[in-house]
């Protein structure tokens, strides 16, 4: 009658934002689709659901922190920065795969701007590669914005498709062809072609 915490208080001060985020991260990382319910998380922490809200603004705030951590693990450029085109394609494709694998992360990116320090740092790395290649800092910013927009948009379509039923009529088959990795690279190629030719 004491280890089943049905009606008993958790240790006072035994909960921190870091602990909440870490528990949430492991839960999300484990589950295939990366979904998470506040109540389930509270259960694993042996705590009332509302207790979490002392350390987290809302679910989106929590998921943003979780996604920041997960993406930091998978990020890692690892290509020579001089080959800027290949570098950007690699980074974009890595992000696309991450977002498709964890649709909850996709929702974080779609629902509110991601402005964590780590995210800004990663953005800065991309922009620096682009600036070195394009010369102009403004152009680098605009190019990054376009690539990021395209990448997240594509991931959204891909995730939507993979959660939908198999295509049955011609229309669905036609749309289904739009979300292959090859199509991702084709569109990204268009974008990069346009970017590199913009200043002659």
């Amino acid at each position: 009658m004491d280890d089943s915490r049905s009606t008993a208080r958790a240790r006072w001060g035994g909960l921190t934002r870091e602990a909440v985020i870490e528990a949430a991260t492991t839960l999300v990382d484990r589950s295939g689709d990366g979904e998470l319910s506040i109540r389930a998380l509270a259960a694993t922490l042996d705590v009332s659901p509302m207790a979490l809200y002392r350390h987290v603004a809302d679910k989106h705030d929590l998921m943003a922190a979780v996604v920041d951590q997960l993406w930091a693990e998978r990020w890692e450029p690892g290509l020579p920065r001089t080959e800027w085109r290949a570098w950007i394609i690699d980074a974009a494709d890595r992000q696309r795969r991450f977002l498709v694998e964890k649709p909850a992360a996709l929702r974080v990116y779609l629902e509110q701007p991601v402005v964590s320090a780590a995210a800004m740092e990663r953005m800065g790395a991309c922009i620096e590669v682009l600036r070195a290649a394009l010369g102009d800092d403004d152009r680098a910013h605009r190019a990054y914005a376009a690539v990021h927009t395209y990448t997240v948009g594509f991931a959204a379509f891909e995730a939507a498709r993979s959660s939908a039923h198999e295509p049955v009529d011609d229309a669905e088959r036609e749309l289904a062809a739009f979300v292959s990795p090859a199509q991702f690279e084709t569109g990204l190629g268009y974008l990069l072609d346009g970017i590199s030719s913009a200043g002659q």
Copy 2:
């Protein structure tokens, strides 16, 4: 004791899919952000919430029909098809504005592929313009997919930004600059440059 339908059945067969969709469309069109709750819709129809589910698979199915109707009203190319670049920019910008104005529509596009007959017809019109300009039918398809992906992705970021608080630090200000209409056209311009130069 008879016009307040608290515990009384609605007329038998007095509900059709068309009526549900129409009522939902007016509700969505009226509300600023275009949100809709099943329970509120049921209330305006003077019917139990669960009654709707005889005529509609789920909320997403309903919203897809509503959005199809709303977008059909605002769609209308109206530029000469010979100027393909201006035509595509106009169509994309029109769609962007629609999706930002009605975030519920955005969610429809992001959560599941839109394959209604009207949507396929509009896509067909775009592809035909591209095919006439580019010659190749495959290239036209790929180009349309890229433009559509970019457009919806951008609308998602724009909608997210406008629902967020004002930017306070440099990071947020930097990201906020990414979602101006000018930036939309810049990125779209990159994309179209790349598309038109792809076959020399």
